[in-house]
Point group: C2
Chain length 407, copies 2
């Protein structure tokens, strides 16, 4: 069957998970949902309601009347369902950087007599910076190891307090083996902090089932929460009594309105809350999560795997000169496909000019992210055909100038 027929057949096969009607989509094909998810159609109205009615009319009363105060945990529970966390273990509020700092600092206090932090050197840079900065502050040392090397490393040492790893590599799209790494950490007595930024909303995580200790993740990628949507933090029930993050803000106090001079942590996941969260961004995220209502993360994953698999198939057939660096094994793949090419920057620019938005990651990667609910196999094929045209026309070379890109 040719690719056009394959795309049509696959779209028919996956029609139940085609949720394009729940989004407002731009013209062209948007393959950057791994950076900023598309706009769910329910969001503009919800934000309008929050601004005009909650803030504008009810003002301060909205904290109770419209559930602002409970939002960090309410939205947390909705994300929890997508990452396999039972209610009462997830809160939403700060940036991913702050959430990670808080989680790792708390992990260190759970293992006070151990001095090493292990982190994947291919982590998103902020994760490396946050861990290095924290280690400098506390006198810990940082050891780097790729997730597939972490189990062997942990078997050889007993000083590891915490293992920080990303579920999906932001460059290659490789999906790491979370259960195996988590089990190895537990054998070695270490705490795991998983960064789910590139898996939440796209890949099943099953935090509870795999007894993950702590996790954080981004709200604006596959959860479609909007630019800079607040991050989430998962604190497994068994760690909540001992969860002591470095920044102690008043929303995490046992009695926030007692205005006591000394902090006392709430005895549940509320202790992971920070200062007053950005409510417009937080409630936009809440409205965005409605996309997943009635959907299981396994449904999303099935569609995503089919789309990324077909994307690789189309690249192999139509653009064999680009190197697919993302695993071909669907079990080892997140929800984006990266290709390496010396003119990757120019390729990304030329594709944008043709209405296909992916993004560039230095030095030579073009990332094609698949927000599965709002993309079809036809979209994917169209994108690859545009890439073929870019290569044929030498467009990438022409545009491979000074690099500026933003996630």
């Amino acid at each position: 069957m040719d690719l056009t027929s394959r795309a049509a057949a696959l779209d028919t096969e996956h029609r139940d998970t085609d949720l394009r009607h729940l989004f407002r989509l731009p013209p062209g094909v948007y393959l950057d949902g791994n950076s900023l998810g598309a706009l769910p159609a329910a969001v503009p109205g919800a934000v309008h309601e929050v601004v005009d009615r909650h803030w504008g009319q009810d003002l301060i009363a909205s904290w109770n009347r419209h559930g602002w105060w409970s939002a960090p945990q309410r939205v947390g529970d909705r994300i929890g369902r997508l990452v396999g966390a039972a209610p009462g273990q997830v809160v939403v509020g700060d940036t991913t950087s702050v959430a990670l700092f808080q989680a790792v600092s708390a992990a260190l206090t759970l293992r006070p007599d151990r001095r090493a932090i292990v982190i994947d050197p291919a982590s998103f840079p902020t994760d490396l910076y946050v861990v290095a900065g924290l280690a400098e502050l506390t006198g810990h040392h940082v050891v780097t190891a790729s997730p597939d090397g972490i189990p062997a490393l942990l078997d050889s040492r007993s000083d590891v307090a915490v293992v920080v790893a990303s579920h999906v590599d932001f460059r290659t799209g490789r999906l790491w083996d979370l259960p195996t790494v988590t089990r190895a950490a537990h054998r070695a007595g270490a705490i795991t902090v998983w960064d789910l930024s590139h898996s939440a909303g796209a890949v099943p995580v099953e935090l509870d089932r795999h007894e993950v200790d702590l996790a954080v993740g981004c709200g604006y990628k596959y959860l479609n929460g909007g630019p800079g949507a607040p991050a989430f933090t998962y604190v497994g029930h068994r760690h909540q009594a001992g969860y002591v993050p470095a920044i102690r803000a008043w929303h995490g106090h046992a009695e926030p309105f007692a205005m006591e001079p000394t902090h006392r942590f709430a005895d549940d996941v509320a202790r992971a809350r920070g200062g007053t969260p950005p409510m417009l961004s937080l409630l936009a995220l809440e409205a965005a999560l409605g996309v997943f209502d009635g959907l299981d993360i396994d449904d999303v994953r099935r569609r995503s795997s089919s789309l990324t698999g077909f994307l690789i198939e189309a690249l192999d057939e139509l653009a064999p000169e680009v190197e697919v660096v993302t695993p071909r094994d669907p079990e080892a793949r997140g929800s984006h496909v990266s290709v390496a090419h010396p003119q990757a920057y120019g390729m990304s620019q030329a594709l944008i000019a043709r209405g296909v938005t992916g993004d560039f990651r230095a030095p030579d990667l073009l990332r094609l992210g698949v927000g599965a609910p709002y993309l079809t196999h036809r979209d994917v094929l169209h994108a690859v055909r545009q890439l073929r045209a870019v290569l044929d026309g030498g467009e990438a070379e022409a545009l491979d100038g000074p690099r500026r890109t933003v996630t």
Copy 2:
């Protein structure tokens, strides 16, 4: 002249700074702008534009095309104008709690051989919690002193690294003497970190003129940025080269898109940026700041002083049984007036039922906040008359039940 005529005369005198037409105001009298500022009329349209057009249509391209990337510094400069900071010294992004943690942690690295942190024990609780938590992490010790006692304290010891103080006391509305405390800190070789949450947008601060070192403040009170609007951080030019906050996130990197494994701070105030900020909340704040266009903070202050002075005058005349705990000297007063009363909680509830919104602070304070640009002397008089009716009708006593309030 009776109070009704006084109110009318004062409203006429201050008609140039009556900016009610720039807000969408609820019915009644809203005296809680010290907690959540009213909605500026320009905000709903601006947020709609950000959601529908920037996010919905241009998606990731908005980081450059619509100035998302530059927003933390652009909005910072606009706030800078209101707190007396020349451009290039203010950024916006995280919560006030995180901003304070970052600023104090950086202050400690500027004075590496000193072990004490001085803080006002009457600070907003988060400030106390943040400082105590940081001190625990770094092994510093915390000394408490009221701002009027700080100069004497500093003269008696040489181990103080940093002085943390609030410009306006969140309970009493007392405006502290920032220049004197700052000079005393400098004489003692200490760094000052001012919390401007209750002064930014209401009281002149003159950060540059008084050579303040670092400062943070809230976006959602007198700046009217909306619920949980991001906080700002001021880093004086002379400290920027040495400003090293604990959390090192990628937006503060010298070359964020080089995706280097090691953090290198930007060489300007960008180094104070955190992770990806909550753009909807940040851009709502930016739109809200338009209220201050063409206005000097001294204009706002003149109106605010007149309103709070008239509020005290009306309280004295109409409700002499409540105790005004806010200084009567306008030079020592911020922009809210607090009264102490055993039934303060019931009073606040009864006033809300009568359309007058203030707030309660344990154990016995009713706070009446004055968002000067959108309040009149007639409003203030109406509020005090309602309070009189509450007292006459025994309404406060009837409502003084279980306490639940939210800022």
